[in-house]
Symmetry: C2
Subunit: 334 residues, 2 copies
Amino acid sequence: MVTMSDVAREAGVSVMTVSNVLSDRRPVGAPTRARVLAAVEALGFEVNLTARHLRAGRTDTVALIVPSFHDYFGEVADEIAPLVEAEGRHLVLERTSANPEHEMESLSVARLQLYDGVLLSVAALDRDQLDRVRTPKPIVLLGEHEVPDRFDHIKLANEEGARLATSHMIEGGSRRILALGAAYESAHKMTTDRRVGWETAHREAGLPVDERYVVPVTTYSSQGAREALLDVVASGLPFDGVFAVTDVIALGAVAALAESGLRVPDDVQLAGFDNLDVSSFVPPGITSIDPNHRGVAQDAVRLLHRRMADAAAPAEHIVAPVRLVVRGSTRGGR
Amino acid sequence: MVTMSDVAREAGVSVMTVSNVLSDRRPVGAPTRARVLAAVEALGFEVNLTARHLRAGRTDTVALIVPSFHDYFGEVADEIAPLVEAEGRHLVLERTSANPEHEMESLSVARLQLYDGVLLSVAALDRDQLDRVRTPKPIVLLGEHEVPDRFDHIKLANEEGARLATSHMIEGGSRRILALGAAYESAHKMTTDRRVGWETAHREAGLPVDERYVVPVTTYSSQGAREALLDVVASGLPFDGVFAVTDVIALGAVAALAESGLRVPDDVQLAGFDNLDVSSFVPPGITSIDPNHRGVAQDAVRLLHRRMADAAAPAEHIVAPVRLVVRGSTRGGR
DNA sequence: ATCCGGGATTTTAGCGTTAAACTAGGAGCA
DNA sequence: TGCTCCTAGTTTAACGCTAAAATCCCGGAT
């Protein structure tokens, strides 16, 4: 491996001068700089970032730690990356497997020290576990959990979004709306919040809330949703609307409805949550709640930068507003 | 920050003993070990991985460098992660923005040194640029480009897959099949390969190859595909089949066909490539070419481990087999 | 001629860890 | 007794870089 001292010897200068040329931290005379750069080129030197990090105490890298790499998180990550890069830092993704043990490990202060800041999407950690995380490292939490007050935190307006989607279908004429993927007790606080919004919409409309219409899914995927909804159809429970707690769930619902010969939106209205790209392309277009990924990404990065600049700043808790996007899967709107 | 020497002082031992307890590299007497662990606990010590990396020369981390975090790459990444973790290493994702400059930067040896091995998904680098990458770091290339022989490389059987999908639609009765998203000259070698497979299928069936049926997309997305296909419909060019070079493109096609009142598969058959999750749920199910993500992930990790174990091993070039998955968007099969 | 200011460059001193060499203190054995 | 061997622990010397302090050198002011 070529080190800085190799370059220094080749250029006939001290190691520190090489460092100064490369990092532009202190002025270096033009002829010297040229000789150093020539030596760098000749030897193919690349600075050892690990050594730089150890010495300089920063890594110029931010981590986004997510439960899984695909779908929702991939899309958000692609929004966050340019914002982080705009500040001259790198973004890397790490994964927790939505598994409490792994999430704890990724959270170990050891791993955190590799980064100047961390955006942590909390999927599987409860408040107690988070409370045990004691580190001066700047952290911003993303996600729908309850979190200790001392953390910066961004969550979506889950209840409000679910209420909007459900109310919209009620206005469109649905009277028996399933809450697909919702739950009463769940590791995912999010599904509970969205169920509450679904209930609120019913109450506001003076409609009864029937527990049979809360349909949990066994595995949290399109496939799980498809199966769960096919079971409902088979059971004979009448319904004329489906509020899917996420668009991934809604996608499974689309498949199940088509297989059951139910037309969308004529027989059954359908609305999802997350406004994934896919939702606008699946005919007839899936009405969804747009969480404004870009806005969330901007808030997240803003909070993180603030925290990195001032460790003592008071923690900020943001509830990101959501917005109903009406498409062909519901009646009304366009 | 609590360091090892703080722990050593607290436990009344040398720093080296603390290191030995934590890394299990050399035996330590039981009472001493207990005292050290108590001190670690009491002070909340976490090892500084940067220092460990500098000294030990390894990071126990593998990077997967991809053009973007969502869709295809997210799915592959989720397959790769457990395989890397099974060997006691971490996986992190970095992004290149499918932009040659950024990809070059991520490839700079400087950044590579942070990892014990790198899986690089080559989207925007041509052979010459890759040829300039000189590093002893274990690298496995993933993707459809031509790459220098000295690199380990895994690519899909693009031509074969495109041929399979197209032939299948020809057997199903289509005679005028668009190659949507394909190209003659393209930064994405993949789209050219798949166009060739589309041509081959025509030749094998004794059908003419009409250049007007190769429809490029302006932006590589569902939206771009939707617009391109709507333009074709507006132009009046008759067609009865669409081979979409990726499922993301196919999804845009589904939307455009539905908007144009064309029925799938009755009026137009449709097939994609990649077999994304979404393809099995979009009614009537999108016929697609399954690249076997899991198999590709396994091969990738196997090659990387081999390369990490033996830097001098001869480079391996794998063409991963693909398989046609027939769904409702084409006639025939089930 | 001497001193001074200030930019250019070097020297010093680690950052926190671990590989390798070394020491202390027994146990085992002839 | 004296020697070797072993185990448990310590000391030493980096890994490759950079912050901070020290030094050098030259033109201009006194």
